[in-house]
């Protein structure tokens, strides 16, 4: 599962932009290469990972967020829009370090802060967490609980839960 110490290549794939029926594969753009599998967790509103997320236990702690209290550990987190904070990369790296972070991130909008947090955690702790970008129409088809598998080339295998 983990590649030890190796440098990670960025592989630019094509953005999946056709509506895909459940059970198919979708090609995303690789922001950070890695592989993962897990159950989808779709964020219903933007979340600030600094202040709105507790990196010690991986829970959403923003009291204004509709998914307040949700655990993110091990999930494939689908993020239509994020709220950037300078502290976002640190919070993500810390959650990944202590094993309470998501197994993968799938974004509809490119996000440098999430990507950098993951890159640092992958480098420091020999993890293999991917960050993939897909289109907004595709991400809207995801439901929390869908079974997701991501390969290092950014191919997302997707089964309705």
């Amino acid at each position: 599962m983990c590649r030890v110490g190796g440098r990670r290549r960025s592989i630019t794939g094509q953005l999946g932009n056709i509506l895909t029926p459940p059970g198919n594969s979708v090609q995303g753009k690789v922001l950070v290469a890695g592989s993962a599998s897990g159950l989808a967790l779709l964020l219903h509103e933007p979340l600030s990972f600094w202040g709105g997320f507790d990196p010690r236990n991986g829970k959403i702690i923003d009291v204004h967020h509709p998914q307040y209290g949700t655990r993110t550990a091990g999930s494939v987190m689908f993020i239509p829009e994020s709220r950037g904070s300078a502290g976002t990369p640190g919070a993500i790296a810390e959650a990944l370090r202590n094993g309470n972070g998501p197994a993968a991130f799938v974004l509809a909008k490119t996000d440098l802060k999430i990507s950098v947090g993951v890159m640092v955690a992958n480098r420091l702790y020999n993890l293999d967490v991917p960050v993939i970008e897909i289109s907004m129409p595709l991400i809207k088809q995801v439901s929390s609980g869908d079974e997701i598998r991501i390969n290092p080339e950014g191919l997302i295998d997707w089964r309705k839960g």
């Binding site: 922001l31 502290g87 790296a93 370090r97 490119t110 440098l112 990507s115 950098v116 640092v120 480098r123």
Partner: protein, 422 residues
């Protein structure tokens, strides 16, 4: 990577010839160029980093990784606030000792790396700041907004780890606010319906920033109608409030900020896509939104978010007029070491401490659960403190002008006398 031009030094770094830390930093810059589809890199002259702010062991591990592999900074690099005051143990929860120790180790690691230890979220108040047109790296949100808007230096809102990687390499992808196109205003805020005397009061700028942040989305705003008296403390307030309620890494103000001599300059001779006309009732709603209902007695005052400036110290001393803070309250004021030293040379620190003001450097008072005594109803003059503190501390907030904060602190109860209450 196709399309991205790398020179010989970049390639050497990428190949690991300067060690693993510099290699990782270069990989991060290249990955960022891929992520943001930039075709070239641009040299920066300065960085203000947030990576020194501890939020977990990963921060410290990263700094130690850089030191272990002999990373070297390419540009002058200044530090944001830390989680703790390096020279004052008394203001943090002694039971959180592991967190405190690691936060201090983190700050010390960045000093060892060669950063200038200014420990402030208002680095623009210090001499030697960047100039108009300089490409730099900013990270903390209010500093990014102030650098872009008030100084006219150019930075995207970066963030932890990337800020240090860019300072090590001395380059960032040429994209976003580094480019002219990214700096064009697309949404106009007008103030014609707001009386002139309101536009000249200090709390107005906090409320204005909050409203701009709420309404501009991802578009660069331009504000028309700020008075000629608008100073850097006022612009600091807009920067901080706008990047709390929203994400405003750049705003222009016609006749005030350097890239907006005229509205056409700010909009680069195009028409704004949207105009928002602000009214007094909008300001009143913003003030209500930033306050939390509470019948409890006033228990504290918090000033200095972002860090208190020299001119704010001068105003505070004038407003206090030798009176003392009511003994039922705690009164915290945060500032940078630099401004502290200047205030001290005027004798103000002694005066304020004798009056009951607790002055803190290096850090801030809204993000730690362990500021002694700061609970219950707390009054602040800062929209940013009002926005964030209720989520992080057991407090209810009242937002007031500096004068209202001072009068309330002396009386020991909330006294609001200005227009902004409905």
């Amino acid at each position: 990577m196709p399309g991205l031009h790398l020179d010989g030094r970049d390639q050497n770094l990428l190949d690991g010839k300067q060690g693993k830390a510099m290699q990782f930093a270069m990989e991060t810059i290249v990955a960022a160029a891929n992520i943001e589809t930039a075709e070239s890199l641009i040299e920066i002259s300065f960085a203000h980093i947030d990576s020194c702010f501890y939020s977990g062991r990963a921060h410290l591990d990263f700094a130690l990784f850089l030191l272990q592999h002999k990373a070297r900074l390419a540009v002058p690099t200044w530090t944001n606030t830390g989680l703790v005051a390096l020279d004052d143990f008394s203001i943090r929860d002694p039971f959180a000792s592991n967190e405190v120790n690691e936060a201090r180790q983190l700050m010390e690691a960045y000093v060892q790396l060669g950063c200038k230890p200014v420990w402030t979220c208002a680095p623009y108040q210090l001499p030697g700041r960047p100039q108009l047109g300089d490409h730099i790296v900013g990270s903390e949100s209010n500093a990014v907004s102030f650098y872009n808007s008030v100084i006219g230096a150019r930075t995207n809102k970066y963030g932890d780890f990337f800020d240090v990687c860019a300072a090590l390499i001395g380059k960032v992808p040429l994209t976003g606010l580094h480019c002219d196109e990214g700096r064009r205003s697309r949404v106009l805020f007008t103030l014609d319906d707001i009386p002139r005397q309101i536009r000249a009061s200090d709390i107005f700028y906090h409320l204005l920033g909050h409203l701009v942040g709420r309404h501009c989305g991802s578009l660069v705003p331009v504000i028309s109608g700020l008075p000629g008296s608008t100073d850097e403390d006022d612009l600091k307030a807009i920067s901080a409030a706008g990047s709390s309620s929203g994400s405003v890494p750049l705003f222009h103000a016609v006749g005030i900020t350097p890239e907006a001599a005229t509205l056409d300059d700010a909009c680069q001779n195009q028409a704004p896509e949207k105009t928002v006309s602000l009214s007094v009732s909008d300001l009143q709603s913003a003030r209500e939104e930033l306050g939390t209902d509470s019948n409890q007695p006033l228990q504290g005052i918090a000033l200095g978010t972002p860090h208190f400036s020299y001119t704010e110290f001068e105003r505070l001393v004038g407003l206090l007029q030798g009176r003392c803070i009511n003994k039922s309250l705690v009164f915290y004021l945060t500032t940078s070491r630099h401004v502290y030293a200047r205030a001290e040379s005027q004798g103000w620190i002694g005066l304020l401490e004798a009056a009951g003001v607790k002055i803190i450097t290096d850090t801030c008072t809204y993000f730690s659960p362990a500021v002694n005594g700061l609970r219950g109803k707390v009054m602040t003059n800062a929209a940013k403190w009002a926005y964030y503190a209720p989520g992080m501390l057991p407090v209810q907030v009242v937002l007031g002008s500096l004068a209202e904060c001072v009068e309330s602190a002396v009386a020991g109860e909330v006294l609001l006398d200005s227009w902004a209450t409905s």
